[in-house]
């Protein structure tokens, strides 16, 4: 009969079995190749062979060893094992190593033929599946490449080169899968720069395109709002811009079942503040140079694409020379080490703080190096995206207060009442809606605590020294600064107060920290101490 069904390899040390099988499979249309042991079979195996029958017990190289070689080198063949009766242990072992099945001697010829047919069909199916998978993977790779091109070309904005007063760095490492990370920089005027950092839920082309669409919507929203409020010479605020983008895109996003987390930040050099709208994005890290601390800026808005999220709430983050802002994607905090631990926000803040003396570019590189060290790899699951905006320590003039008042007093506790009166007088013209009566009372309390602390501790109760207090009013902030020449003070040395009534003291510093939006203690090289208390006059952090 014409051997139209291809080649079959049969290995058995028993010549009788070889003859029987050769006849049997020759008749069914196979070209039969025989081997006397495993070694011969290994030499004869090739891609042309469609099925293999191996005896388990053979000299030189046994069936198991031969099976292992075949499975390793010829992927598309699953051999059938021949075994002497009651030799089940080896048969089961053979199954573990990838045999298609086993048949015991003496065997039923029809059963063996059926088994070979089944093995060939199964192997052919596995081969087809692998081919389809390979094609799929190839097209997936193409999609990733396309998405990654879109990402680089359309999603990552280019910061302005010479924006006076700010130094900006940005960096993206696309992941294997391409997230929808995007960012953009929009120059509003010489004093205002907007930075948008966002992340579209999902991966691949769909999220990359959504990110690109969003970016252009922001430009459009700004343009439209500018036109509509051109007559009163007002710039559209971030909350209005984000609100407009949300209402323009909500339907498309609902249809695509996606949403976007983002932070829209306006750096306003004319007011020394960043005003931002945060919609469920990663908490931006602000490094405060003066107190050498990091704070996390968080908003309260839901991501874009969630229904009924308008109006958006905007917050103010005042900044000073040398402060910087670190925007990032979840690729940083969700980088994992070999044990599955996440890098996390706490480590990120620590890393950012450790790099605080560096330039924006070096800060990003430093943080990247920390994450690589932690995760032990340079390729991340998610996009690694960050933007650093540093307020230039030289270029911007210090903000001038609208009103300023100063008082000098002796370090005597009897002065406390007069100092409170000074603060009360200063607060009087501030409109009630910016600073209410209850808040003024609390400010008086904080001021009393600070001055008592200076007199008792910095001056050890001496009443002949001098303390100076300056109250300054800025558009959005009320600043009270104390200057003394006493001993240095570290608020971290003060124990946390007891609230069980067992101690009389230890509340002062706690009270001040609870009342004020920001408290900064510093000491200069001339041994002068500065205590700055800040109150923000608008909804604040």
């Amino acid at each position: 009969m014409n051997p139209h069904r291809g080649k079959i390899l049969i290995a058995d040390d028993d010549p009788i079995i070889r003859i029987i099988l050769k006849k049997l499979f020759g008749k069914t249309g196979f070209e039969v190749i025989t081997a006397q042991n495993g070694k011969e079979a290994v030499d004869l195996i090739s891609n042309e062979i469609r099925a293999v029958i191996l005896d388990l017990e053979m000299p030189v190289m046994d069936g198991i060893e031969c099976l292992q070689f075949i499975r390793k080198n010829v992927r598309d063949i699953s051999p059938i094992m021949l075994t002497a009766s009651e030799d089940f242990t080896s048969a089961v072992e053979a199954m573990r190593y990838g045999a298609f099945d086993y048949i015991t001697k003496p065997f039923n010829p029809k059963q063996l033929i059926a088994l070979v047919d089944k093995a060939i069909e199964t192997d052919a199916q596995a081969k087809r599946l692998r081919r389809v998978e390979a094609e799929l993977a190839k097209s997936r790779d193409q999609e990733i490449e396309t998405a990654s091109k879109i990402q680089q070309a359309l999603l990552m904005g280019i910061p302005p080169k010479n924006f006076k007063g700010m130094e900006i760095a940005n960096w993206t490492i696309p992941s294997q899968k391409v997230d929808g990370d995007f960012y953009d920089f929009i120059t509003i005027d010489s004093q205002c720069l907007d930075v948008v950092v966002g992340d579209v839920m999902g991966k691949g082309i769909a999220s990359a395109l959504m990110g690109a669409a969003l970016k252009s919507y922001f430009l459009r929203a700004i343009h439209e709002l500018e036109l509509s409020c051109a007559h009163d010479d007002m710039l559209p605020e971030p909350d209005a811009i984000v609100g407009r983008v949300q209402s323009a895109m909500i339907h498309q996003m609902e249809e695509l079942e996606t949403f976007v987390t983002l932070c829209y930040a306006r750096f306003d050099l004319s007011r020394n503040q960043m005003r931002f709208v945060d919609c469920g994005h990663m908490r931006t890290i602000q490094y405060l140079k003066e107190s050498q601390t990091c704070i996390l800026l968080q908003g309260i808005n839901m991501p874009i694409g969630f229904p009924e999220t308008e109006p958006f709430t905007q917050f103010i983050a005042p900044f000073s020379k040398g402060d910087f802002f670190f925007f990032y994607s979840d690729g940083l905090t969700e980088a994992m080490d070999s044990h599955g631990h996440l890098f996390g926000e706490e480590r990120l803040v620590k890393s950012v703080k450790a790099c605080s003396g560096l330039s924006p570019n070096e800060i990003i590189k430093g943080v990247w190096a920390d994450i690589v060290k932690f995760s032990g790899t340079e390729t991340f699951r998610d996009d690694f995206t960050c933007v650093v905006v540093k307020i230039d320590p030289h270029d911007i003039p210090m903000l001038q207060p609208d009103v300023e008042s100063r008082m000098t007093f002796s370090s005597d506790l009897k002065e406390l009442s007069g100092i409170r009166q000074f603060i009360r007088n200063f607060c009087e013209p501030i409109p009630e809606e910016l600073l209410c009566e209850a808040r003024i009372s609390m400010i008086e309390l904080a001021v009393t605590e600070v001055v008592t602390n200076i007199i008792r501790h910095a001056y050890s109760g001496r009443s002949d020294a001098i303390v100076q207090v300056t109250a300054s009013l800025f558009p959005d902030m009320f600043l009270i600064e104390f200057v003394d020449k006493g001993k240095s003070f570290n608020p971290e040395d003060v124990p946390h107060p007891n609230f069980d009534g067992s101690r009389d003291g230890g509340f002062g510093i706690y009270i001040v920290s609870q009342i004020m939006d920001d408290v900064v203690y510093s000491r200069d090289k001339d041994n002068t101490n500065y205590t700055k208390l800040k109150i923000f006059l608008k909804p604040s952090l």
Partner: protein, 111 residues
């Protein structure tokens, strides 16, 4: 600086006539209370005139409260003004010392 004391039965009502109780007069207040605490175990501190208290003022009140209660007595505050109440809440003092609306209620609560 002045404290006015009145006795109703076993109870001594102390009215602080100062507008402020801060680090500047806390020591004086502490010493003035000494003779009162020696004589009476049931004290009502009337804060009606006091518009401002700082942590030093709180400290003195807490210190005397501890002394009085350890001697088996009690001290209650009445007519606490809004800004003072805000401070008491900030340092959780309202949970340690009993604060009542007026002296009549305080007298009744002493039974």
């Amino acid at each position: 600086m002045e404290l006015i004391t009145e006795n109703i039965g076993e109870i001594t009502i102390v009215t602080l006539m100062e507008k402020e109780l801060d680090a500047g007069n806390a020591k004086w207040f502490k010493s003035q209370m000494l003779s009162i605490v020696k004589k009476s175990k049931k004290i009502i501190l009337d804060m009606n005139h006091v518009q401002f208290v700082d942590s030093s003022g709180c400290g003195v009140i807490l210190s005397w409260l501890r002394t009085i209660t350890s001697n088996g007595g009690d001290m209650k505050l009445v007519s606490v003004q809004k800004p003072v109440q805000a401070l008491f809440e900030l340092v959780r003092m309202h949970r340690i010392v009993e604060i009542l609306e007026d002296r009549e209620m305080a007298i009744r609560s002493f039974g």
